[in-house]
């Protein structure tokens, strides 16, 4: 199942990467005569309300979604992971302050926080990444902190200290490899969440500004013409569903293999 999911994700990632070569038309080229035209051989997924080719826009839209969500999750893993390990390792007041700050971040619903950050700072790619990173840092900090707490009491860490290793070396060389598994399982699931958040923000109208194609933005435009041309909303929805399904399958598969309780049963 994880392999199939991985294949789905790879399919979408590759088609987004190769969008400049794969897309049959310019995603921004308007063709007034083809406004809301139904699918044809030349435009296999039809045309939107500006007569633009829907297939090309979906291929290009994937680039924005994947770029924003992947960057956000990677940044969140680095910052959240580092904060979590530091908090768990140092402990004491530092731990309490960091985790308290994470609790505050968790006090805002993901989408509402993304909505406010983008609305206040402006809908640019950078701000979208910032908004989604903010929603994902706290969960990664928590997931990295929990195993650190137990690992730092283990003998091999004690041995490292006795050998005079620096704290930095102990954290990076000895604790990080033990934490990374849990973090990676979460990464697949959070990537799905990040893609969902990006699409939701674009759907609300807070995504990368038009005419740039984004999946959420295309669904938003399609939704305005839902009565006449429902496929405008349906095709980009299918694109989102394929990635989400793929990522969730990968996440599930990773979790099953990393959780010994479920493995041997």
């Amino acid at each position: 199942m994880a392999t199939f999911g991985g294949a789905l994700v790879a399919l979408v990632a590759i088609s987004a990467l190769l969008a400049p070569w794969l897309s049959p038309h310019d995603p921004l080229e308007q063709n007034v005569l083809l406004r809301l035209a139904a699918p044809t051989a030349e435009f296999p997924l039809g045309n939107d309300s500006f007569g633009r080719d829907v297939l090309s826009r979906i291929l290009w839209g994937g680039r924005v979604s994947l770029y924003v969500s992947t960057s956000a999750v990677l940044i969140a893993i680095v910052i959240g992971g580092a904060l979590g390990i530091l908090a768990g390792y140092i402990g004491g007041l530092f731990d309490r302050v960091v985790m308290g700050a994470m609790d505050v971040l968790l006090s805002f619903p993901t989408l509402v926080m993304g909505l406010l950050v983008v609305a206040m700072l402006g809908p640019t790619v950078g701000n979208l990444i910032l908004a989604i990173t903010l929603t994902a840092v706290a969960p990664f900090a928590r997931i990295a902190r929990a195993p650190t707490l137990t690992i730092k009491e283990r003998d091999f860490v004690e041995a490292g200290r006795a050998l005079g290793f620096s704290n930095l070396r102990i954290m990076v060389v000895h604790i990080l490899p033990n934490v990374i598994d849990d973090v990676l399982v979460m990464a697949a699931l959070w990537l799905a969440t990040a893609i969902r958040t990006e699409a939701s923000l674009s759907f609300i109208g807070l995504g990368v500004r038009p005419p740039t194609a984004t999946w959420g933005g295309m669904i938003r435009e399609g939704f305005e013409n839902i009565l006449d041309s429902p496929w405008l909303a349906i095709f980009p929805s299918i694109a989102i569903l394929i990635v989400m399904l793929g990522l969730n399958m990968v996440g599930d598969g990773l979790r099953d293999t990393s959780d010994p309780r479920l493995r041997h049963e």
Binding site: G100, A101, D103, V104, L106, S107, F108, P109, T110, L111, V112, L115, L116, A119, M120, L121, G122, A192, R196, A199, S200, F203, I204, L206, G216, I219, F223, I226, L227, P230, A233, I234, S237, I240, L241, M244, L245, N248, M249, D252, R261, L262, E265
Partner: protein
């Protein structure tokens, strides 16, 4: 139990204060001058200064901060920059719609998700389990606005079973129910997927424990083992997920309210974003954060109800 409740309440207070502080600074660092928004770009410098003075924005930041905390904590969220009505009143007007929607979704999610998850665990790797897992995988993959649009297309636009715009007519309780069905089912089904998955995996973990084998060996009927002996211990992770899920549910309710054109907090927040109504946004952030903190508190209290061991520590 009482000391447990009091202890949890005390822990929630610093979080709440920190949240308010974040809201305060967040709204202040945002670009855009509220006075400018109220008066438009034709306004004279004097008029802008006067409005800033009225809003208290010409005072030093620490003074504004103390004032903000004092008014919010006394229950006053200020007035909307656009409608000039109290923020709390605007919130109170639409809050019942959002509560009605999320609570119905919550009931659907738990009432279907829990038994399905338990049944899937009980019949592990059989047809029912596979069906349940596939359903949950699909449910987890649907962004709420996508599923909402699909439901709208199928049941309102194609089949005409429900209204396209979920607006209840005044004094017609039946129209209110029919306006609630699709949005609530949309949120509810996604939640079923979450609850079912946790209930299943938590139940699988518990069913492998020794005391379950002992109970079986003693000849306790399978039904009693599953629902009495196992479920009690499997419930804790489910409570956690339901509590955590409320944040997602609130986000999803915003999207659902937009698609079904339904009044509620979500529509309010999107409208105030479009109109740059900063006091309204500030107030809504406070309301949302309060809801989350209260839900976390309720989740913790539910642990105490579900698991007697929690009460003692």
């Amino acid at each position: 139990m009482l000391t447990y409740i009091l202890k949890r309440l005390l822990v929630a207070i610093p979080t709440l204060l920190a949240v308010l502080t974040v809201v305060f600074f967040f709204v202040r660092i945002a670009p855009g001058d509220p006075a400018f928004i109220i008066l438009g770009d034709q306004a004279s410098q004097e008029a802008l200064a006067a409005v800033r003075h009225d809003l208290g924005l010409d005072r030093p930041l620490p003074v504004q901060y103390v004032d903000f905390m004092a008014t919010v904590l006394s229950g006053n969220l200020g007035n909307s920059l656009v409608t000039h009505r109290p923020v709390w009143q605007e919130v109170r007007n639409v809050l019942p719609y959002t509560i009605e929607l999320t609570v119905t979704a919550l009931i659907i999610g738990v009432a279907l998700g829990l038994p399905l998850g338990v049944a899937a665990a009980k019949h592990r790797n059989r047809a029912l389990d596979y069906a349940a897992r596939i359903f949950s995988l699909i449910g987890l993959s649907f962004p709420a606005f996508v599923s909402a649009i699909m439901l709208l297309l199928a049941f309102a636009i194609q089949l005409h079973w429900f209204p396209v715009i979920s607006e209840a007519r005044e004094g017609d309780p039946l129209s209110r129910v029919s306006a609630l069905v699709l949005p609530a089912v949309n949120l509810g089904l996604i939640m079923v997927a979450y609850v079912m998955r946790v209930a299943r995996s938590s139940m699988l973990g518990v069913l492998g424990e020794d005391y379950i084998r002992t109970a079986r060996a003693k000849g306790v009927p399978a039904r009693v083992v599953v629902w009495r002996h196992a479920l009690g211990n499997a419930l804790i992770p489910v409570v956690t997920v339901v509590g955590l899920y409320l944040g997602v549910l609130i986000g999803n309710s915003v999207l659902t309210e937009i698609v079904f054109n339904r009044p509620g907090l979500g529509k309010l927040i999107v409208n105030s974003l479009n109109q740059r109504d900063y006091t309204m946004l500030q107030g809504l952030m406070v309301v949302y954060a309060f809801i989350i903190v209260i839900v976390n508190l309720l989740t913790d209290l539910t642990y105490g109800v579900v698991d007697p061991r929690v009460r003692q520590t």
